[in-house]
Structures are given as structure tokens and as C-alpha cells.
């Protein structure tokens, strides 16, 4: 059986398992009545959670893919380009300046900060002459830590350092009906990414090549950064940060399917969703009935996968 | 004299050097030539002890090199790799001073200073003595690194593509310097070189490798011939001989050479 069909099958199975697992045992036969307790559990908690996990699982690797094409480096993702730290800073600023602001307003703050930070990062990286590709994400991490320092400076003065650490950690346990819907914004993003896949592939060949093929570097890169920023902002607001997913999945897919995005993006999406579903299940089952934040499980699983990837490359 | 016996090296599953035996006579300039991936640099790196062979033996004056302490080896064999991308802020004089490290471990004595001055003088770098190497042109920097290798005052010099990225004038300067080192100071020079014309005009001996194996070796007069070069490079050669040396023309192949 081919890998895509295994992935699709796995995805469906994982979705079902994800719906079945929970603190409150599901009475499946009760669902048939289309009402009652079981139905409420399903629609108010299980389905929103499943949707959130899948949307994030598809969105984050997309961000990774786009950024990797724009920056032309395999090790770039929102966490290694200052994007996450900037979104967090934006969230903090919105909380301090306008505590009463709604989710949409906060998301806009996070979005603007993330976009500006990514654009600046791109500008910096394009000016530097790199001797080794590893330096690109290193610069990104340093840049991110500068942004974090600014955020901490703020947070320390307003005494919210510990709760700010909390936003750093992705967590699906608080997802219920009514507070996650903004995540659906990733759907159009995914669609646009797919439609523009060809341009991003061309972008990955460099500015000169892209221009000679009639693709405007500035416009396409700008669009890409916007797509990334929206996804990152939405995820940070609803779930928190989840490292490595945007890094591992694209790198794994490239290994087997190459870099023609039109062909690989569906696989990237499917694989991302599966990985996050698995991590989410681990989070929920490991210390059942309590939960480990997804940021931790995805960080560990993704980290180990990434280490294996590097080791493979190094041989 | 350096001689190598049955040298082999594999990377992963790929054989880069297979059963190579040859010799590099003292007081001669020997050029290692061959197409890309023939194993030239690998062989040179083994002579320099920057790589160790999987099989085989290297003898320096009949003594196995792995019996020689690294610090002692540095007084007998000096190596210059392709001008390293160092962006250190050092003056030419300081850089050349490093060539004396095997002798003085860092604190220069009067003898060391003389050796440094001689090496700089030998390559006519005296006007650039106080210039910083990160501000020099590529050719000048290569000369400065060569001066450092010369200051090491070893019997034997190993150079890996010393002409890479140099313009014609600097290339001729470097090759003339190597020739003089051999003729005037009796040093042994081994270099990896791509330009067959420089190899033919400045060296005494040619060692040709192809696909990790020794293809042929011998004095220039015997080896730089149409038949052998055609066989080595799979190119059509026309060699013009005159009082000023040999000129190997491979630019306009005749017949069916693709």
C-alpha cells in the first residue's frame, strides 16, 4: 500500500479514536437519539477538539513549507524565525494596552507583530552571507530571543511573567465550543497556499530564477509571510505554541517526495494532521485522567524525530 | 622522498582510492593530475596526514609516517590547502609567523624572525608585511599563506590546488616560486593541479589518477603525450612543443569527442 493511502487510512482511524477518548465515557448508542448528554459532549468538546487538532496539524507544517521556500533553508519554521516570539509579544501588548479587547482584536495584534517580525527576519537573512545553512535558524533563534527579551521586559513590569510562560505551551485541553472557531481561518489559508503552491516552489529556486520565470519575488514572498502570520497568530491565540511540527513534517516529506509543492502539499497536510493527532492522544492518555500539554508531547516527539533526521543526514 | 604503497580509502560504500602505489622523489616538483573525483586531493590529504588510509602505507624517507610524531612531522612536511575562508584579523607577518609554530610553539626567537623575513622576502611580499590578510586580494592572500608554509622550512611541501581562483599573473607567480623553492633550496614539492599546461611546464614528474586508481606516472617528457592525456581525460589533445615549453591544446577537439 502506498504511503498516501496509509496516511489517509491512519488519519480516519485517528480521528475516530480521538473522538472516543476522553474523561467522560462516551455512550455511543446514546448518540443515535441525537440529543442528550453524550451528544453535548460530542459537539461541545470532542468535535471542537478534533477540529482544532486537525486544523493546527495542517496549518503549522504549511507555515514551515512556505517559510522554508521563502528563506530557502530547511531548518526554518515560525519558531526559528522569530515569528512565534513576535506573535507572543503582540498578544502581550494587546493585553496590556486594551485588556477588554476581543479575540479578533488580539489576533490582529499578534498577526501584525508576527508579519513585521518575519519580514524583518527575511530582510536580515537575505543580507548575510552564510557559510553554513545551520546558521540561518540560529540567527532566527537569536532574533527570537531579542523579541522575547522585550516581551519579558514588559511582562516583568506588569507582573504576568508566569502566565506568559503559560501561553508558550500549546494546550488543547481548554478547547470547547465557542472559543476555538477563529482557527477555521486556517482553512482559506490552506486553500490559498495550495493554489499558490507552484509560485512558492519557484520562489525556492531563488530571487533571480523566480524573476526570470516571471514570478515577482516581493509579491509572492509578501503573500507567503501573510499566510504564515495569520496561521501563527490564530494558533498562538487559541492553542499556544507547538514546536517542531512545522520543521519535521516538511523535512520528512521532502525526503521521500521531493519539493514540488503542488504534489507534496496534500501529503504534508495529511502527515501533519496525523502527527498532531498522535501527539494529542499521547497527551490525553499518558497520565489519564489528567493531561499533558500538547506543546510538550509534540515538542518531545518532534524533537526526537528531528534528531533522527539530522543524524540520518549526517551519515 | 615520499613513497606510497597500496593505498586505499573508502567513504561509506564508495571507493575513492584503490591500491595506489607511487613515489614522489626528493628535490622534484610532482604534479597530481586527473579528472574530477579521481582521488587526487584524497591522496594529498593522506600525505599530509589529514586523512588516514584504510589500507596501505606511506613512507617518508623509508620511515612509516604514522611512526612520526605529529609535531615532528610538521617540521618535515608542510601543507597548504585551498586558501581557507578564514576571516581572522592578522597581519601578513603574523600569519607567516604561524609557520614557525612547530619550532617555537608561539614565542618567536631570533631564528624564527629570520625565517619569517626570508619567506616574506622570497615571495616579494615585503611591502605587504603589515597589511591585514582579510583586506588582501585573493591572489595576495594565497601568496601570504604560501609564505607561511615556506616559513615552516620543511623539506617537503604539499599544496592542494594552489592556483584555484587566481588570475594568470598570480598563478604564474606562485608556480615560479614553487619551481625556485625546488631548484634553489632543494625542496620537494607535491601539488594537486587542474591546469595541465602549468603541470606540464613547471613540474618534473606527473602522477595521474583516474577513478581512484593510478593511471600512469613518470617524468614530464614521458607522460605529457597526446596518447596518454587523451586516455586520461577522454579529450582530444594536440601538444605543441617549442623552446618555451609544451602547450597542450584540448580546446578544439577534432572528430567525435563529446
Amino acid at each position: 500500500m502506498s504511503i498516501p493511502s496509509v496516511l489517509s487510512l491512519g488519519f480516519v482511524l485517528l480521528c475516530l479514536v480521538s473522538l472516543a477518548v476522553g474523561v467522560k465515557p462516551m455512550a455511543w448508542h446514546a448518540l443515535l437519539s441525537l440529543s442528550g448528554d453524550a451528544w453535548t459532549t460530542l459537539t461541545a468538546s470532542r468535535l471542537p477538539r478534533l477540529a482544532a487538532v486537525v486544523l493546527t496539524g495542517v496549518g503549522l507544517p504549511m507555515c514551515g513549507v512556505i517559510l522554508q521556500q521563502i528563506v530557502r533553508n530547511r531548518f526554518v519554521e515560525p519558531a526559528t524565525s522569530g515569528g512565534l516570539d513576535a506573535a507572543r509579544l503582540g498578544l502581550l501588548v494587546s493585553l496590556i494596552l486594551a485588556p477588554a479587547m476581543g479575540t479578533l482584536g488580539r489576533m490582529l495584534f499578534a498577526l501584525v507583530f508576527c508579519l513585521a517580525a518575519c519580514a524583518l527576519y527575511l530582510a536580515i537573512v537575505r543580507r548575510i552571507h552564510f557559510r553554513n545553512t545551520v546558521m540561518v535558524p540560529v540567527i532566527g533563534l537569536m532574533y527570537g530571543s531579542v523579541l522575547s527579551a522585550i516581551a519579558e521586559f514588559y511582562a516583568y513590569r506588569h507582573n504576568i511573567l508566569q502566565s506568559m510562560q503559560g501561553w508558550l505551551l500549546g494546550d488543547f485541553s481548554k478547547i470547547v465550543e465557542g472559543n476555538y472557531e477563529i482557527l477555521y481561518l486556517t482553512l482559506p489559508i490552506i486553500l490559498v497556499t495550495y493554489l499558490y503552491a507552484h509560485r512558492f516552489t519557484v520562489l525556492g529556486m531563488g530571487e533571480d530564477m523566480a524573476t526570470s520565470l516571471g514570478v515577482s519575488y516581493a509579491v509572492t514572498a509578501g503573500l507567503g509571510l501573510l499566510l504564515v502570520s495569520v496561521t501563527v497568530a490564530v494558533t498562538v491565540i487559541t492553542v499556544g505554541t507547538i514546536p517542531f511540527v512545522g520543521l519535521v513534517i516538511p523535512n520528512l516529506v521532502v525526503l521521500y517526495y521531493g519539493e514540488h509543492l503542488r504534489h507534496t502539499l496534500p501529503i504534508v497536510a495529511l502527515a501533519g494532521a496525523c502527527l498532531l493527532l498522535v501527539c494529542d492522544l499521547i497527551s490525553r492518555l499518558l497520565i489519564y485522567p489528567f493531561e499533558i500539554p500538547i506543546g510538550l508531547t509534540a515538542g518531545s516527539v518532534g524533537g526526537v524525530l528531528f534528531l533522527l533526521l539530522i543524524l540520518r543526514r549526517n551519515r | 622522498m615520499i613513497s606510497v604503497h597500496n593505498l586505499s580509502k573508502r567513504y561509506g560504500g564508495r571507493t575513492v582510492l584503490a591500491d595506489v602505489s607511487t613515489r614522489f622523489p626528493a628535490r622534484q616538483v610532482t604534479s597530481l593530475i586527473g579528472p574530477n573525483g579521481a582521488g587526487k586531493t584524497t591522496l594529498l590529504m593522506m600525505l599530509a596526514r589529514l586523512l588516514s588510509p584504510d589500507q596501505g602505507e606511506i613512507l617518508l624517507a623509508e620511515q612509516p609516517v604514522h611512526d612520526i610524531r605529529l609535531a615532528d612531522y610538521a617540521r618535515r612536511v608542510a601543507t597548504l590547502r585551498q586558501s581557507p575562508g578564514i576571516n581572522l584579523r592578522l597581519t601578513v607577518e603574523e600569519l607567516v609567523g604561524f609557520g614557525r609554530f612547530p619550532y617555537s610553539r608561539g614565542t618567536l626567537t631570533e631564528t624564527d624572525r629570520h625565517a619569517v623575513a626570508d619567506a616574506i622576502e622570497f615571495l616579494s611580499l615585503t611591502p605587504l608585511r603589515q597589511a591585514y590578510i582579510d583586506e588582501l586580494s585573493g591572489g595576495q592572500r594565497q601568496m601570504a599563506f604560501l609564505a607561511m608554509t615556506i616559513a615552516q622550512q620543511t623539506d617537503c611541501l604539499l599544496l592542494d590546488e594552489p592556483l584555484n581562483n587566481l588570475d594568470m599573473k598570480h598563478a604564474v607567480q606562485i608556480m615560479r616560486a614553487l619551481r625556485r623553492l625546488c631548484d634553489e633550496q632543494g625542496r620537494t614539492v607535491v601539488l594537486v593541479i587542474h591546469d595541465i599546461n602549468f603541470a606540464a611546464n613547471y613540474s618534473d614528474r606527473i602522477v595521474a589518477l583516474k577513478q581512484g586508481r593510478l593511471h600512469f606516472s613518470g617524468p614530464v617528457a614521458d607522460t605529457v603525450t597526446e596518447a596518454r592525456l587523451q586516455d586520461l581525460y577522454d579529450l582530444d589533445f594536440d601538444i605543441v612543443r617549442s623552446e618555451r615549453g609544451r602547450l597542450c591544446n584540448y580546446f578544439n577537439p577534432q572528430g567525435d569527442w563529446s
Binding site: 536580515i124 548575510i128 557559510r131 540560529v138 505551551l169 499533558i292 500539554p293 | 610538521a74 617540521r75 608561539g106
Partner: protein, 315 residues
């Protein structure tokens, strides 16, 4: 070497030190001045540690925008502290005692360094960039874990943890300072003695080998010494992330050469001066409204970004 500049830098540091000890002290020789002298000593030792480790590490790596802090050392230290508080609660402070914690941290860092290098040098060749990538991944995984622990613990315990997260000179004890001083003097002495060797190592593996230096052995030794220094500075003053980059680069610029006999002392002057300056600002001007770490991160991060943007740097 520019001797007058070296001299004036150290004079400036001395002046700063005197100002730090005496300003607004009321010449209280019973409490304020001894306390400040203690902090001053910690800053001196920490500064030397950071300066020496950064310079030597950069010479080995052949790269001017790396510090040992990025290679995962500091995150291991932070994780250790977080685990202690998590598992043992605040009583861990009493249980281990200040010296116990200090020595445990130093040993842990050495073990970490040993494991990494043993693994790296198994085929006799070092690959600093691979080490860097590894450190990066470890940093991300470990900091996720640390964040998780930080969010889980009570606010009281969080305050203790935050204490470890911050560079601070207030927690040093005289006994610990004594041990640290002996170790630092020893290591710095060895490094200074091998300054000529370090100059050769900076030329790169091949050039060093060709000059008769047993490169793998020397690098291993020097990295071991670097690990000791990083361990001391982490447990003495806390994590300093990118301060090493700032210190080293400023030292190269001021010294006008890359020879270690000039850069090592110059970098020490810069590091100690920066520490005193930051502490002075926090104590006297900002009235503890921010912390030394945040201030230093802001200064060094800003400098780093400016450096990258202005000079079209090489990395």
C-alpha cells in the same frame, strides 16, 4: 595590540567598580559595602567565565556569532533546576545546600559536554555545525519541558525557578564564590598559557594539523575547559544567552587583532564592565523595575541585530 586601549578599558572597569561599591552606600562598612563587594566578585568571576568561554569557543568553531550558551548548556542547567524544584519542592534548596547545587550543576555540565563530544568525535572528526544543530534541538525540547514544569509549579516555587532563570548576583554565597574563584583562576590560567596554541587552532583543523598540532585532542581539552566555565557562570550568575557574542565581538573590534593574548583580557574587561553597568542601572536608576538578564539581553540582542543589519555580516 593596542596597549593604551587595553589599559584604559581596565581603568574604566575599575572606576565602574568603585562607583558600584560606593554610590549611595553611606560608607556603611558593616552591611552594604561587604554585600556589594560580594556581588562585585561574582560579576568579576562571571564576566571572566563568559569572556573566556565565548572567545575560545568562537576560535574553535571559526565563527563569530556562536556562543557555548547556544549549544544546549544553559538549557540543561535550567532543566536541572526546574526538575529539582518540581520533584523536591522548595525544600530542595535546603536539601542540596548552595554548594551542593553548585557542584552538582558543574558536574552535570561536564557530563553533558562529555557525552556530546564523545559522540561527536567518534569518527575522529569534529563537526561544530552538527553540534550546533543538536544543541538547537535540545534547547527547544528542553525549554518546552522547563516551561511545562514552570507552569505546573505553584507561584512560590515559580519565583524560586525564575530566580535561576535570571542572571543575578544576589544569590551568591562566600563559600561558593571561593570554590568558583579557584576553578576560574585555574581554567583561565590554562587557557592563557595555551594562547599561542589557540591562535593556531583558530586557523582551522587542516592548517593546525599541518603545523603539527594534535587538533582533535586540543579541541577536546579546550571544549572541556569551556564546559567548566559555562557551568560556573550558569550557576554563579545564571543564564546569559547571547552575551558572549556581544562581548567577543566588541573585544575583537577594540583589540584590533584576533590573537588571544589580546582578545582574552579585552573580552574579560568588556564582560565585567557590562555586568557592573547593568547592575548599576538596575540598582540605582531603574530601582529594580527590571532585571539584569532582561537588560543585558536587550543590550546584547540590540547590538547583535544592528551588527547583522549594518555590516552585511558573514555567518
Amino acid at each position: 595590540m593596542r596597549r593604551p586601549l587595553m589599559l584604559s578599558s581596565w581603568v574604566a572597569v575599575l572606576v565602574l567598580a568603585v562607583v558600584f561599591v560606593l554610590l549611595n552606600s553611606g560608607l556603611d562598612t558593616d552591611y552594604i559595602i561587604p554585600k556589594r563587594l560580594l556581588r562585585l566578585a561574582a560579576m568579576g568571576l562571571g564576566g571572566v567565565c563568559i569572556a573566556f568561554s565565548a572567545i575560545v569557543f568562537q576560535s574553535i568553531a571559526g565563527n563569530r556569532i556562536l556562543t557555548p550558551a547556544i549549544m544546549g548548556y544553559e538549557s540543561v542547567y535550567l532543566l536541572f533546576q526546574a526538575l529539582l524544584v518540581w520533584l523536591l519542592g522548595t525544600s530542595s534548596l535546603m536539601l542540596m545546600g548552595q554548594n551542593g547545587n553548585f557542584f552538582a550543576s558543574v558536574l552535570l555540565m561536564l557530563a553533558y559536554s562529555w557525552v556530546i563530544h564523545r559522540w561527536l568525535f567518534r569518527d575522529g572528526r569534529s563537526n561544530v555545525y552538527f553540534l550546533l544543530l543538536l544543541g538547537l534541538v535540545l534547547t527547544m525540547v528542553i525549554s518546552t519541558l522547563t516551561q511545562f514544569i514552570q507552569v505546573t509549579v505553584s507561584p512560590g516555587e515559580f519565583a524560586v525557578l525564575q530566580g535561576y532563570n535570571e542572571a543575578s548576583f544576589n544569590r551568591v554565597r562566600p563559600g561558593q564564590l571561593g570554590y568558583a574563584a579557584v576553578l576560574v583562576l585555574l581554567v583561565a590560567g590554562v587557557m592563557l598559557r595555551s594562547r599561542a596554541l589557540l591562535d593556531v587552532i583558530a586557523l582551522g583543523r587542516e592548517q593546525a594539523l599541518s603545523l603539527g598540532v594534535d587538533y582533535p585532542r586540543c579541541v577536546r581539552q579546550q571544549l572541556f575547559l569551556v564546559a567548566v566555565l559555562v557551568a560556573i557562570s550558569a550557576s554563579l550568575v545564571g543564564p546569559t544567552a547571547f552575551m558572549g557574542i556581544f562581548v567577543a565581538n566588541l573585544a575583537y573590534a577594540l583589540a584590533g587583532t584576533t590573537r588571544h593574548r589580546a582578545t582574552l583580557p579585552m573580552a574579560s574587561a568588556v564582560a565585567v564592565g557590562l555586568f557592573i553597568l547593568a547592575q548599576l542601572l538596575v540598582e540605582q536608576v531603574l530601582n529594580y523595575r527590571t532585571t539584569v538578564t532582561i537588560l543585558i539581553n536587550l543590550i546584547c540582542g540590540g547590538y547583535f541585530l544592528a551588527l547583522m543589519i549594518r555590516t552585511r555580516g558573514r555567518a
